[in-house]
């Protein structure tokens, strides 16, 4: 049994976790960073495409470049690292003292810490979480798994590919497949609009002549040993397949790109309250969950479409941890609850104090053009809002407190 003490234990060394670790260390906190793989960096390690760091580093980098910069920074500030480490459980000794039990090949670590930043990222939705029936042959991959195989291990999963869902990872993978000589036969999206960023639709599909079927769904998977074909049909306004429109696409591989879910298993086990909309924890402006001293950042908090925001959330959580430690808990405030108004699917954080500048992340339900985003008396003009693109806005301190709100609706208003 190996014992450690820390001010903050950060679980997960992806963008959010590493950014949190750097910030925490710079704020003078005793920091332990726990990573379950034998390498730092998380998912960006397998992202050899650009689009990373435009906000955070003011440069367009590949995932690998982005994460290497963060890792280099982290080494320069010096963070205590535990690799190959699986968090077995979290115990509470007191309001302030928590214990993280970690399994590693060197034995079990018991880390006594005042705060925890949970930055374990997300997992992909898999076939059985979609309303798709049929055979269960080999040849079905999630986009992330296909990416792992192609970009970490140099393996082509299949030759004739149908991608289910138009999430960003799926679009990126469509292009990767095309570049490596595979044949992407179709991208099937059940919604009437794409699930990924416009830039990815253009750069990954249109530039490679890959057909995108909006308002379509896979109605059947066929194959005894390996995938042989899929049946596809148009859907009606209730997203139900229209049988008469069904057609078959022969293929040997199915790639599921149907979105991500925050990876919050351990938080669920210890009773952290969750938001059914984000499927991540309910948090205040310090990204503190319903359990005091447990903070969350990155895709474990909310599914981001830009890595920059995940890193930013890591820093916010580290600041929260600092305030928590200084005050032996986040001081009690008259929290103002952000409520979901017109065309808003979710807002994070859920509670703000109004005392300081806060960054709000939100997603809309449906695409709209020429609208205002309205929060209390703050109105921000937006040319377009789309479900695939997270809205990030900074709310200056006092915008809300002056009006003595208890709840504030966030809404999209047509101009």
């Amino acid at each position: 049994m190996i014992k450690r003490r820390a001010d903050v234990a950060i679980i997960g060394a992806g963008p959010a976790g590493i950014a949190a670790a750097i910030k925490a260390k710079l704020l003078g906190l005793e920091t332990v960073l726990i990573e379950n793989r034998d390498i730092l960096g998380g998912i960006p390690l397998q992202c050899i495409h650009p689009g990373f760091g435009i906000h955070y580093f003011k440069e367009d980098l590949t995932g690998c470049e982005f994460i290497q910069r963060l890792i280099d920074r982290m080494y320069s500030v010096g963070v205590d690292l535990i690799l190959n480490a699986y968090v077995h459980s979290i115990e509470f000794n007191s309001y302030i003292e928590k214990r993280v039990n970690v399994i590693t090949p060197n034995g079990v670590y018991k880390i006594d810490t005042k705060t925890i930043i949970y930055a374990t990222g997300a997992r992909e939705r898999h076939l059985f979480e979609l309303n798709i029936f049929g055979d269960r042959p080999d040849g079905v991959y999630t986009a992330g798994e296909a990416q792992t195989l192609m970009d970490l291990y140099g393996i082509l999963p299949g030759e004739n590919i149908v991608i289910i869902g138009s999430g960003d990872v799926g679009l990126i993978m469509a292009r990767r497949f095309a570049l490596e000589g595979a044949n992407v036969k179709a991208v099937i999206e059940i919604m009437p609009y794409p699930g990924g960023l416009i830039r990815n639709i253009v750069q990954c599909l249109r530039d490679f002549n890959i057909p995108l079927y909006l308002s379509h769904t896979v109605t059947d998977i066929i194959g005894s040993k390996r995938v042989e074909s899929v049946k596809v049909a148009k859907v009606d306004e209730n997203l139900r397949p229209i049988k008469s429109t069904e057609f078959e696409i022969p293929c040997d591989t199915i790639v599921i790109a149907a979105g991500l879910i925050p990876n919050i298993e351990l938080l669920e086990k210890i009773g952290v309250a969750m938001d059914p909309k984000t499927r991540g924890p309910i948090v205040n402006e310090f990204l503190e969950t319903s359990i005091p001293g447990i903070f969350v950042a990155g895709n474990a908090l909310v599914i981001n479409d830009l890595v920059d925001y995940a890193a930013e959330q890591g820093e916010i959580a580290a600041e929260g941890a600092k305030i928590y430690i200084e005050n032996s808990g986040i001081p009690t405030k008259s929290w103002i609850k952000m409520t979901l108004g017109r065309n808003i699917r979710f807002v994070v954080p859920h509670y703000i104090s109004g005392e300081r500048d806060v960054i709000l992340y939100a997603r809309v339900q449906k695409p709209e053009n020429n609208v205002y985003l309205s929060i209390a008396n703050l109105k921000i003009k937006m040319y377009s809002v789309r479900p695939a693109e997270m809205v990030r806005i900074k709310i200056p301190a006092k915008t809300i407190t002056e009006n003595h709100y208890v709840t504030v609706p966030v809404e999209v208003i047509p101009t």
């Binding site: 049994m1 379950n36 190959n84 699986y86 077995h88 459980s89 039990n101 399994i103 590693t104 090949p105 060197n106 034995g107 079990v108 997992r123 992909e124 898999h126 076939l127 059985f128 979480e129 309303n131 029936f133 049929g134 055979d135 269960r136 042959p137 080999d138 040849g139 999630t142 992330g144 798994e145 792992t148 195989l149 192609m150 291990y153 140099g154 393996i155 082509l156 999963p157 299949g158 030759e159 490596e180 000589g181 059947d220 998977i221 066929i222 005894s224 040993k225 390996r226 298993e265 669920e268 086990k269």
Partner: protein, 499 residues
């Protein structure tokens, strides 16, 4: 003493149980041929996983089924201990909602008496929630049968296979029988896709394909198996409605009722549907939307609440071998001498399998005039793979210090370590099966959790590739390769062929 070469066709629960029982005697030299890459991948892999009490078997209509089911229930209680098979014995409740249903349920009390099933009785609404807090409050009552159990059916086959190997049985996988060799009215062996095997006795336990095998031997021409499809849904471990008892609706002429059960791995499972397919649809294991909605509806009748569908982690379907009139065909023939049918073993086949095995032993000993001689050194016990999942962390720390592989977690959802994966690979090799990612899943539960292998599949494949000394892309997932090949070499070849 004459030694008989025995070939058993099919390494499912029936074939493997027969191998175990026959391996107790000096008289037999036993081989099993299996068409799949691993043991237990047919009917045995995907079923309701229940060890039935046997109060549902009509002793007049199906005397053999009733008798062997009842005996099997008792034998399993020993076998799961001897072979370290995951099992629970919670008892079952056949739930009724009306007086009509109640009359139907009561019918089974007389079966229970005739079949000598202990403890069966009716309980009414006032007692129901004490027995089962997760039951639908609209239920009027239930028929309680305390001797019902649930096991892990695929682990049962694996455990028995490992034990049978210890006792001298040989297993040949990916071996499909194409002919039964007969000379002078006696079987002399089989021909397979991988060559011939000599045999004095051929036992047909080929599950869904048992009728084909029987016809190859020239017996039971009128016997045909009809595939009956059953679909299931599996919820994540963390749902808050997990019945303690095995719950099911009353059987109808068409179905045996739908079950809601907490499996030995802690998942809520609902199923099966029952759909008769055409006679040649022996591989039609597709799930359907209709089946899915039916199970959600029936599950909702049994349980106080059905968990949200986003908690579903797996849907699957299996085929059951339905024989004519529901009758099992168990016979040892004189023409050709040495051919034995153990065919059409539909429900309660899993429950009865050990009893079927003993019955078959007796049958061939009598029919073929074999003087059974017990082995003096038969190995009764087998231990499962050491799992770290529910181990105390102080103990785990000691374990890691002896083998650091227990400290490398491969499957996050089910907390499965590298040491367990490597042990599974070695055990697969030892029984003569083909190491696959799926085979490891069934031995360690890696990939059984809520992410369904998203995080661990490629890492298990990496371990397999390293252990077997093969490229990652050529690792077998279930029945085909993980990938096509090296991405750059494939692309280069493609460019060359284009120019």
């Amino acid at each position: 003493m004459k030694r008989y070469k025995v070939v058993i066709i099919g390494a499912g629960i029936v074939g493997i149980s027969i191998a175990r029982v026959l391996s107790m005697y000096e008289n037999f030299d036993i081989s099993i041929v299996e068409m799949e890459p691993d043991v237990g991948w047919g009917v045995s892999k995907a079923n309701t996983s229940i060890i039935h009490p046997c109060h549902e078997e009509d002793p007049e209509k199906y005397p053999l089924r009733a008798r062997l089911c009842r005996e099997g229930n008792s034998i399993w209680m020993n076998w799961v201990k001897e072979l370290d098979i995951p099992a629970r014995w919670p008892g079952e409740l056949m739930v009724f909602y009306s007086s009509e249903d109640e009359q139907e349920a009561k019918k089974y009390i007389s079966f229970a008496i005739k079949n000598d099933v202990p403890g069966v009785r009716i309980i009414y609404r006032d007692e129901l929630t004490s027995y089962e807090p997760n039951i639908n409050p609209e239920a009027e009552g239930a028929l309680y049968a305390p001797t019902a159990g649930t096991i892990s059916p695929f682990e049962a086959v694996i455990a028995i296979a490992e034990n049978a190997i210890e006792n001298g049985v040989k297993i040949f996988v990916e071996t499909r029988v194409i002919n039964i060799r007969i000379r002078n009215h006696s079987v002399i062996g089989i021909d397979t896709n991988r060559g011939s095997i000599d045999a004095n006795i051929v036992i047909n336990a080929a599950g869904l394909y048992a009728d084909y095998i029987s016809h190859m031997a020239g017996v039971a021409h009128e016997f045909y198996i009809k595939p009956r499809r059953g679909e299931y849904i599996v919820f994540d471990e963390d749902v808050d409605v997990k019945p303690i008892k095995i719950l099911h609706t009353t059987p109808t002429p068409i179905t045996k009722g739908v079950y809601a059960i907490t499996t030995v791995h802690g998942n809520l499972m609902i199923g099966p549907t029952a759909e008769d397919l055409s006679i040649d649809a022996r591989e039609s294991k597709a799930t359907t939307e209709d089946g899915f909605s039916y199970l959600i509806r029936e599950g909702g009748r049994l349980l106080k609440r059905i968990p949200p569908t986003l908690k579903i982690i797996r849907r699957f379907a299996s085929l059951r071998p339905e024989p004519p009139y529901g009758n099992w065909l168990i016979d040892a023939y004189m023409e050709p001498w040495g051919f034995v049918n153990v065919a059409g073993i539909r429900s309660p086949g899993l429950t009865a399998a050990p009893a079927i095995a003993k019955y078959v032993l007796k049958l061939i000993a009598e029919r073929y005039d074999i003087n059974l001689v017990e082995k003096s050194s038969w190995i009764r016990y087998r231990k499962g793979i050491k799992s770290i999942r529910s181990i105390d962390i102080e103990k785990l720390d000691e374990l890691i210090r002896r083998n650091s592989g227990y400290g490398k977690i491969v499957c996050y959802c089910k907390t499965v370590s590298e040491a367990e994966i490597l042990e599974a690979i070695d055990r697969i090799i030892k029984i003569g099966a083909k190491p696959t990612v799926d085979g490891i899943k069934f031995r360690t539960t890696a990939g059984f959790g809520k992410c369904q292998g998203l995080f661990c599949r490629w890492r298990i494949a990496l371990l397999l590739s390293k252990r077997l000394g093969i490229p990652l892309y050529s690792v077998t997932i279930k029945k085909s390769q993980y990938g096509l090949g090296d991405i750059k070499i494939l692309l280069r070849n493609k460019m060359v062929s284009k120019t």
